[in-house]
């Protein structure tokens, strides 16, 4: 006998034009052939209604894992399980999506069939860390479900103090702004750290995110411990006939107001013949003009990536954006990609050894200083890493001469090629 609950507050969320998650859960509760699914979703609705009435959450964490792993599952035990027994255990499995979040309907159906056997029937594509979230099942069933989908190519993601599931944008598969093979970067980086993902033993989480251009659709600079952003270092591509066509269709004022004047480094000028002059040495690769005129303007040919480290949200010391640690590197040869993975290994090793418990990389850098961090992971400092040099005179400069000499030597070496 399926136990049902009155849910007057949730019922209100079935109204309105936007698709309702409550209607979906209710359909599982009332119409799905599986009694397990009917029970667990009715019970879930009951507890959720109780939360709406009392304005409190009633889930508690715990320890649930699959054989061989220490993470990847978000355990949920109900604090009000006596009142809502069928959803007393309601664990979520975090499963890594393919790079770029591509699926075939056949694969989604296969995942749905497996989840139907072992879970509540609720799933989200994707959580904010990038995982497929299979929401709601018992401890036993987490193992059964994982065993089944792992057989056909799906692996758990990260949860807890570990390397987390990575994210990458739609990328070179569909986007003309892409300056990198996001797919390859994403998989190469994260798949190198499966041990650090599945057996949480770091001070805290470590996230990779990959965006193919500085529009940063994956929010990597703000949300990733290591952000990889595609960029270019030669001249941007300009199709002057297409520029003229934009001027023709939009008007000169529109192009001046919305393209030329919005350039943050004043690197654009509209010529008298309606062609565009670009000061490429001063272009900061912000993407604005390319976004407005995608037919006329494009990234250059000499593509690569910029790496930033240390982005994170509020707790504990406040929000931090990532900081540039590699202004530009090519990603073409196998050696280039090996070097990328090597930097990531250095970053994670240094994090593991030097961060305090529950401290993110960005917070550690704030505590020890960027210079110490750069030395720790074996990268050279560069003026592209700062917005401005120090404003405070409270600093010891004993070794100024040696440091200046180091810079001069490096510049001379560069000039010699």
């Amino acid at each position: 006998m399926v136990k049902k609950y009155e849910t007057p507050m949730l019922d209100v969320l079935e109204e309105g034009q936007w698709p309702s998650f409550i209607s979906g859960i209710r359909r599982l509760a009332n119409e799905h052939p599986s009694e397990f699914i009917n029970n667990i979703t009715h019970s879930l609705l009951g507890q959720l209604e109780h939360s709406y009435e009392t304005r409190k959450g009633y889930w508690k964490g715990g320890t649930v894992s699959v054989f061989g792993y220490g993470g990847g599952i978000i355990p949920r035990f109900s604090e009000v399980g006596d009142a809502f027994p069928a959803s007393r255990e309601f664990h979520t499995l975090r499963v890594q999506p393919p790079a770029g979040n591509y699926y075939s309907s056949a694969m989604l159906r296969q995942l749905a069939d497996s989840w139907e056997k072992y879970g509540s029937g609720l799933v989200t594509f994707h959580g904010q860390t990038g995982n497929i979230m299979f929401i709601g099942t018992t401890t036993d069933n987490t193992q059964h479900f994982f065993d089944e989908i792992n057989e056909y190519g799906w692996d758990l993601g990260g949860a807890g103090p570990c390397v987390r599931t990575a994210m990458s944008c739609v990328g070179a598969a569909r986007c003309e702004q892409s300056c990198a093979n996001e797919h390859k970067i994403h998989r190469l980086l994260v798949n190198n750290f499966m041990d650090d993902m599945h057996r949480p033993a770091l001070p805290y989480k470590f996230k990779f995110k990959v965006s193919g251009c500085p529009n940063d659709c994956q929010n990597a600079i703000e949300r990733a411990d290591m952000a990889i952003i595609g960029t270019w270092r030669d001249d941007m591509g300009v199709d002057q006939d297409a520029v003229k066509a934009y001027v023709e269709s939009k008007g000169r004022k529109y192009i001046i107001d919305n393209v030329v004047n919005r350039c943050p480094s004043q690197a654009l000028s509209l010529n008298d013949d309606d062609t565009l002059e670009v000061d490429n040495r001063n272009c900061v690769r912000c993407m604005h003009c390319l976004n407005v005129m995608p037919k006329a303007l494009s990234p250059g040919e000499d593509k690569g990536i910029t790496m930033l480290i240390g982005g994170k949200r509020t707790l504990k010391i406040g929000d931090l954006m990532g900081t540039v640690v590699v202004p530009f590197m090519k990603l073409e040869s196998d050696e280039d990609y090996e070097r990328l993975v090597e930097i990531a290994e250095e970053a994670i090793d240094f994090f593991a050894e030097n961060a305090l418990e529950h401290e993110r990389t960005g917070e550690m850098i704030e505590r020890i200083g960027l210079v110490n961090y750069m030395e720790g992971i074996g990268l050279e400092i560069d003026p592209n890493m700062i917005s401005n040099p120090r404003e405070s005179s409270y600093v010891r400069l004993d070794e100024w001469d040696q440091e200046a000499e180091k810079w001069n030597e490096a510049q001379a070496e560069k000039a010699a090629g």
């Binding site: 507050m9 969320l13 034009q17 936007w18 698709p19 309702s20 998650f21 979906g24 359909r27 599982l28 799905h32 959720l48 304005r55 959450g57 889930w59 508690k60 309601f90 979520t92 890594q96 770029g100 979040n101 591509y102 699926y103 075939s104 309907s105 694969m107 989604l108 159906r109 749905a112 989840w115 959580g127 904010q128 929401i135 994982f146 190519g153 799906w154 990575a166 070179a172 598969a173 569909r174 003309e176 093979n181 998989r187 499966m194 041990d195 500085p214 529009n215 940063d216 659709c217 929010n219 990597a220 900061v284 993407m287 995608p294 037919k295 949200r313 509020t314 406040g318 954006m321 305090l356």
Partner: protein, 359 residues
């Protein structure tokens, strides 16, 4: 049982290869796209250097999908979109087709199935969020319900291109802020210190870790009623809730005093200005299920002014940079209070040390 005696070792396969699920036109033209156009709201047309084209139709869903809905999305893919689906970072569904004549039947099928086509270019995009009371262990509200309520009211802005530039809204049920930075963010802001169940602390919480989590060093170990526990210096406490996840007996959520706050101007993109963090504009908004009308009203008020006053391509942060914060508060008629003046580390950088004042 025998299966318990010989547990199956996992295959640590990691992140799957997406190429196996990619439309053949996208594989063929990988890295060789030329430009894109926006034929109509919710539809993208990408043109490759080879001349090949791919149309994308984007639609919004309820994000927390039941299997009926997931299979409905698959049916649409099979019947109208060559069997391919992808998801955006804001949990929209994207169908990709290689022939123009597939586009309108696809749009019709999506709409007939109850999903909402839109969310491209200068629209209000789908609100990014996580679960809330449905599944999280520390939530102050139900992000899923807030989002459903707001999207019901913002649905026309999702379907159209009415905004000066794209608007990314986020919502979060605690200060961990899984929704992330947004042009507009609707986040829980607690206003009272945690209520401590001293009978449970010693058994449930690793006390030194909890002490270490506090951003303002307001927590210290204490003996309460003869039991080892923790106490909070309530004058120092900033009600952030950082102690609650590692120590559930320090209950921070409060039916009355956990409020919603609205922040604006968070922007991840490097376009025009550098990426920016969101700034507080409104707080003390009741956490009012099932429809949260007060929060939605403030979001709509901000959107209305932005739509009227911002210039083309200005995101909300660009717009406020141009008009200044006094004008923002004047135009939106939101109260400016002492709480808008930052007091955290580095706060002086946010003060106006100039005579740059608009009259």
């Amino acid at each position: 049982m025998s299966e318990n005696a010989t547990p199956r070792p996992p295959t640590e396969s990691g992140c799957p290869d997406g190429f196996q699920y990619m439309h053949p036109v996208m594989i063929k033209n990988f890295g060789n796209w030329d430009y894109h156009e926006d034929p109509e709201p919710g539809v993208l047309l990408h043109v490759a250097k080879s001349g090949d084209k791919i149309w994308t139709v984007r639609c919004g869903t309820q994000r927390i999908l039941d299997l009926f809905t997931l299979r409905k999305l698959c049916d649409i893919a099979d019947e109208h979109a060559d069997g391919f689906i992808r998801f955006t970072i804001r949990s929209n569904v994207e169908y990709m087709v290689a022939k123009e004549e597939q586009v309108q039947p696809l749009i019709k099928a999506i709409k007939d199935a109850g999903f909402i086509v839109g969310g491209t270019r200068n629209s209000v995009a789908m609100i990014s969020h996580t679960q809330g009371w449905l599944h999280c262990d520390i939530p102050g509200t139900d992000a899923s319900g807030v989002v459903k309520s707001m999207m019901d009211e913002l649905i026309d802005e999702f379907k159209e291109w009415n905004m000066p530039n794209r608007v990314h809204i986020t919502t979060s049920c605690c200060q961990i802020n899984c929704g992330g930075q947004g042009d507009i963010a609707i986040n829980i802001q607690h206003t009272k210190p945690p209520k401590i169940n001293h009978d449970l602390v010693a058994n449930v919480c690793e006390r030194p870790s909890v002490v270490a989590r506090c951003p303002v060093a307001a927590i210290r170990p204490a003996l309460v009623n003869g039991k080892p526990s923790l106490e909070v210096d309530e004058k120092k406490c900033i009600c952030c809730g950082a102690c609650f996840p590692p120590c559930p007996p320090m209950q921070i959520n409060d039916a009355e005093h956990s409020k919603l706050a609205v922040w604006i101007g968070g922007n991840h993109s490097n376009a025009r200005s550098k990426p920016s963090f969101q700034k507080l504009v409104a707080a003390g908004i009741p956490n009012n299920p099932p429809r949260w009308p007060e929060a939605t009203a403030i979001v709509k008020r901000i959107l209305k002014v932005y739509k009227e006053d911002a210039k083309d391509w200005e995101r909300i942060n660009d717009w406020v940079d141009r008009i200044g914060w006094p004008r923002f508060f004047e135009l939106t008629k939101l109260p400016f209070t002492k709480f808008h003046v930052d007091t955290w580390r580095g706060a002086r950088k946010s003060l106006n040390a100039s005579t740059h004042i608009r009259f």
